[in-house]
Every structure is written in C-alpha cells, then in structure tokens.
C-alpha cells in the first residue's frame, strides 16, 4: 500500500467516527424538539410527587377529598344565603301587605261603625276614591272579569300576589311591580283629591278631615311631596333674593363713583352758598340797613330803612310782605343795638 492510500483510509475512518458521534449526540435532541412528540416520550413532572408526599407523611387522596368537601360546603352556604335573602324579601313584602290589609280592615271597620245610618258625603267620597283606585289598579293589572274592583278585591289581589310569590309562581320583582302599581293608583287618587280642592279653605272639608283614615293615609302619602314643594319654594325665594341683591350690588358698584361725585358737588354747592352768604353779610354790614330774604327766590335784599307793607324784591321783583322771623319781637321791630365797632346788622343775619 502506498502512503496516499493509507492516509485516505484514515481520513474516511475519522469521518465515519465523527458522523457516528454526531448522530449519537444530536438525534435525541431533534426528536424532543419535534412538533409531534409521542406521549411516551413526554416529560412527566408529576412523577415522583406521590412518593415524595408519602415520604413527607402526606396523604394526597385524603387532601383531595377534604378540598372537595370544602367546595361543597361553600356551595351549600351560598345557596342557603340566597334562600335567606329570598325569604327576607318575601317577609318584607308580607309586612307591607299586612300594613295595607290593616289599613283596609280599619277602613272597613270604620265604614261598618256607621251602622244603619244613611251614607254620608264622607262615605260617598271614600267610595268614590276606592272605586277610582280600583279602576286604576284594574287597568294596571291587565283587566279583570269584574268591571270595577272593590276593597275586598284589592285585598284579595294583594293576598294572591303574596301567595304566588311564596309558591314561587312570581318573582319578588313582579310582586313589587304589583304593589308599585297600587301605589301609582293612589297617586292618581291624590291628583283627583287635589282637583277636588282638598285642604283648601273653600274646598271639600271631608277630604282632609281630622280623624278620617283615608285622609290620614293620603296625607302621609302627600307629606313627602309637600316637604319637597316647600323646600323648592324656599330655595326659589332665596335664589330670587340673592339674584336681586346681586343686581342691587352691581348697580351700587357701578354707580359708586357717581355717588361720591354727588356728595362732592353737594359740599361744593354748600361752600359756595356759604361764601356768597358771607359776602352778602359783609356787604350789608358795610352798607348798613335791613336784610330781607325773599320767599320766592330765596335771595337776600338789603334796604337802608326798615321796609313796611308790601314792597318788591330787589332780586326777582316779586311782591314781598314783611314777616318778621322772631314772633316775640315787637312790631315794628326795634333796630338791634349794634356793637361798638360794627354798627349795622340785618334781620336775617
């Protein structure tokens, strides 16, 4: 064998060994990362957990059963709570129905208490209201064989509604709707009573008469509305006052400069008037004589001698009749004694 043949043989052997080694290392990894993996080759992380739990003194079967029991208890508790809630709703409706029944019974007892007396206007009015409520309820309940419902019918409907709710034929919501319909019919009655003038001075006194059960019930129903109306009225009045006060404040704010200017002008006029008066006094004192204020123009005229009778005003020409300012002064007045250095003065000064 030649050398080249021996080298070729070694190279081929080395390549074969390399291929075998590559297949041995890489083939298992390729199988594990394949998209479809045989179940048998899938990893099983739970393997060994049972043995581990047993080694730790835990019984997995019992733990599983206890968890199931807890879940079952929780479900029972939830269902019992729902049942209690349902019963509570029913009881609440029972209580309301009982109140309504009591009201109706009292009304019946009161109506029967009248004995054999002929029906009064009050009884007639109550009957009219009952009939109105009954007709309204009849319409809201979808009609009835009877054309009008009586008080007994109303009571019967209420009882039936409650019983149906108890037996599960109707839901509590449906029962509530029934009673809401009843209340809305009472609202209609309230409107009718307002139209009839209940509570007004000239209205029907029977509608809100003290001691009338119907009136009491309706008054209770109306109390909220009355309180709301009163609050609304108070609010409106306050709003109106605030609005008016705001408008007034705005006017004052805009005109405050004018107010100050008016006061300033008034002071100025007063000053000028005083100054003029002072000048006139001084002039009179220099001239001497009598000063007479005209009642027409308000100006002072000076006369060297005491005028008498009727004489014309020097300023405006109006005829003046002298009237002395001091009533105790004798007529004709004595000229007042002048001070030593200022001999003359006037009547007005």
């Amino acid at each position: 064998m030649t050398d080249w043949y021996r080298r070729l043989t070694e190279e081929l052997r080395a390549k074969q060994e390399y291929d075998e080694e590559r297949d041995r290392v890489l083939k298992p990894r390729t199988e594990q990362s394949a998209p479809v993996v045989p179940v048998a080759t899938m990893p099983k992380p739970w393997e060994g957990i049972t043995e581990m739990a047993q080694a730790m003194g835990m019984n997995l079967g019992e733990m599983w059963k206890s968890r199931e029991q807890e879940i079952k208890d929780a479900r029972e508790s939830q269902s019992s709570m729902e049942r209690e809630l349902h019963e509570l709703r029913v009881l609440d409706i029972d209580r309301r129905v009982a109140e309504l029944q009591r009201v109706v019974e009292e009304a019946k007892a009161k109506a029967q208490g009248g004995g054999d007396n002929p029906p009064t206007r009050h009884a007639k009015m109550e009957d009219a209201i009952d009939n109105l409520i009954a007709s309204r309820l009849d319409k809201l309940l979808g009609g009835n064989e009877q054309p009008q419902l009586t008080k007994e019918d109303i009571q019967r409907i209420a009882t039936e509604a409650v019983n149906a709710g108890k037996n599960g034929q109707t839901s509590p919501q449906q029962m509530m709707e029934t009673f809401m319909s009843f209340i809305s019919s009472a609202d209609e009655a309230k409107k009718k009573m307002a139209e009839l003038g209940g509570g007004q001075p000239g209205g029907n006194p029977y509608l809100t008469q003290a001691g009338s059960l119907r009136g009491d019930v309706l008054r209770v129903l109306l109390e909220n509305d009355l309180a709301k109306i009163k609050l609304q009225q108070d609010y409106d009045i306050q709003q109106e006052r605030t609005k008016h006060l705001g408008a007034l404040a705005g006017t004052v704010k805009n005109s405050i400069e004018d107010f100050a200017a008016a006061s300033r002008d008034e002071v100025k006029d007063h000053r000028e008037s005083k100054s003029k008066q002072r000048q006139q006094v001084e002039a009179n004192e220099e001239q001497g004589g009598y000063g007479v204020r005209c009642s027409e123009c308000g100006q002072i005229s000076t006369y060297p001698e005491m005028p008498s009778g009727t004489f014309p005003c020097q300023q405006c020409g109006a005829q003046i009749r002298l009237q002395l300012e001091s009533p105790h002064q004798p007529s004709p007045p004595q000229r007042p004694q002048p001070p030593p250095m200022r001999p003359m003065t006037g009547l007005d000064f």
Partner: protein, 105 residues
C-alpha cells in the same frame, strides 16, 4: 356682605376728599340722606324702593351701625374714619335718619 361694604366704602371715600368730608361733618350736612334721596328714594319710586329694600332690613340694620362702619372705613380709608370718629354724633344721626327713611317711612 361686609366685604362688599368695604369695597363700596373704599370707592366712595376715594371719590370724596377728606376736606370735603370734614366740611360736611362740621357743617352738619345731610350728605347721606341727600344721597339716599337722589339714588334710591327717587321721587315717585319711594314705595317700590322701600318694598325692594324690606327683605334686607336685617342685613342693613346689622351692618349699618356706627361702630361697624367706622371699623370698616378705618380699614380702607383711615383719614375719613378719623373724621367719622371726631364727629360720631353727626354720623350716628345720619345713619339713623337713613335707616328710618328707608324702612320706617
């Protein structure tokens, strides 16, 4: 209310010099009353003006006291407040007559 009154008094005192104010006080001028008659109680509108003012009587009577107004004035116009303090009788008389004119006539 007092805040508004303070703003009004400040504006009013800014418009009238202290000397004029003092002159009015010394000469016993009815500047507030005349102002009221010019602005609020205009001839022929007295009745409606009094009706409008009636709901605010408690507010005005609470605020329109000599001490309160001098205190408010001293905060915004100290010189004018000084005049008011010197002529308290005149100012009290002015206020009384104004309130009486508005609410009691």
């Amino acid at each position: 209310m007092e805040r508004q009154a303070k703003a009004y008094i400040a504006a009013y005192c800014k418009g009238i010099p202290v000397e004029d104010f003092r002159y009015a006080a010394e000469n016993n001028m009815d500047i507030l009353l005349n102002l009221l008659k010019q602005v609020f109680l205009k001839p022929g509108e007295e009745k409606s003006a009094r009706n409008k003012a009636a709901p605010y009587r408690h507010l005005v009577e609470r605020l329109a006291t000599t001490e309160t107004l001098i205190r408010i004035t001293s905060a915004v116009a100290p010189e004018h407040a000084k005049v008011l303090r010197q002529h308290t009788d005149w100012f009290s008389r002015q206020l009384r007559s104004v309130v009486r004119q508005v609410f009691d006539s």
